[in-house]
């Protein structure tokens, strides 16, 4: 089993009201088979043993599907590996002697709760504003009542792959949530089930996005490059179309 030694510069912040700063830790004999979060677990065990406060970070599934984890590693959201969440990033991607600077996802709309934990409920409020379809309850309809072409289903699925981790916001030079909101709008507007509320949806979700303090888009493409699910900026173009249609032709 090969191991590496690392130096960590990790962001420590007591709560949303206090000022944070970097703390330096040296980790020896980290197995290259560990995931990034397991490496942080090792650090936390060490901190606990030494009577220090462990580093708070979000995580849940640890298999890249829930969207809870995330930190900026050496300036890149979710670290250096393409289309990979932090929990799925493995330590073999680093070399012995590396210094890792670990910071929380920063945005005006993501207040830091503690250390690497940020409050991303602003994304939930964007969904609440319009990321749903309204369906009358009743008897279950037949599975093929509404035909959807394979291509459309695939495109909608590509957009639905968004796990809402917030890496797009964290990496955007403008702190915009365009990729997230674009993916959520795309997923619904592509499918016939989403057409009923189409005209209000984009306007409502974009209004909420602006209210939360997210920035605008200057087409830098950084979001699409760091997205662990490979969401394309064509989702943003689709959102722009939906928004313009909603504003000019909605009721």
């Amino acid at each position: 089993m090969s191991t590496i030694d690392l130096k960590l510069l990790i962001w420590r912040q007591k709560n949303s009201d206090s000022l944070g700063d970097f703390e330096t830790h040296v980790l020896k004999d980290i197995s290259t088979d560990m995931s990034f979060l397991e490496m942080l677990d090792v650090l936390n065990e060490k901190l606990t043993k030494d009577g220090m406060e462990p580093v708070a970070f979000d995580h849940d599934c640890r298999e890249g599907i829930c969207g809870m984890c995330g930190a900026v590693v050496n300036g890149v959201a979710h670290g250096p590996e393409k289309e990979t969440t932090l929990c799925q990033l493995h330590m073999r991607k680093f070399a012995s002697g590396d210094t890792l600077v670990i910071e929380p996802f920063r945005s005006r709309a993501f207040p830091i709760k503690k250390d690497l934990m940020v409050d991303r409920s602003s994304l939930d409020r964007i969904i609440q504003a319009g990321g749903y379809v309204s369906v009358n309850t009743g008897g279950a309809i037949d599975g093929n009542t509404t035909p959807v072409s394979t291509e459309t289903a695939e495109l909608a699925m590509d957009a639905a792959a968004c796990i809402g981790c917030g890496a797009c916001v964290a990496s955007c030079p403008n702190g915009a949530a365009m990729l997230f909101t674009g993916a959520k709008i795309s997923q619904l507007s592509l499918l016939p089930q989403g057409h009923a509320e189409r005209k209000q949806r984009a306007t409502a979700m974009v209004a909420q996005m602006d209210k939360e303090g997210f920035g605008y888009c200057s087409n830098e493409r950084e979001c699409e490059a760091v997205c662990p699910k490979g969401i394309s900026i064509s989702s943003i173009a689709r959102m722009n179309r939906e928004y313009l249609k909603g504003v000019f032709f909605g009721r």
Partner: protein, 215 residues
Amino acid sequence: MWFISFVNSSIGRKAIMAVTGLCLISFLAIHAFGNAAIYMGSKYFQIYADTLHGFPVLVLLFGLGLLVILTAHVGFGVLLFFEKRKTQSRYRVATRVVENTFASRTMPYTGLFILLFLIIHVFGFNIAVPADVPISAVVKDYLSGFFYSLFYIVAFVALAIHLNHGFWSMLQTFGVNHPRYNCLIATLTIVVPVAFLVIFGGIPIYFMTGAGASF
């Protein structure tokens, strides 16, 4: 009102940038077409200029319209620039995964340089033109000067850089992003700025190098 909230929204502001940008590009296309008469000689250029100014009301309306459009473009551009500055440098280590192009990084600066050029250009060839001198003579006189011409060329280069990001960015803002056309758009975002650079930039070079001595 819906229009106010549209203009205040993040996508609305970008849409205004894109619409005004498209208007400015369309104007430039017409302007380049007309000015190309210079390459045919002073006689043709003078005929073009006189014909154009034979419709003073239209020229005035068009000019005022352009002024409004340009003011909106510059105003929102500056607004977006300041908004962007608020979110910069929030990380200890700043890494770009996709290196943003020189053009996208310098949008506000190339833009402001174009504005400086426009002020000098309109002043020199429009406001401060002596009534008794034909415009073709004024153009030749000014653009035969080395530094005046050089300034023009630098401004056209700035315009080309601005449009290199601006053209595709405008289409993305409008929502034009389709696998069938993305390749064409990537080509056009180079071809369109270069075309402007060649047609406009050729004029000062034409006079500067003496090729237009018999103009």
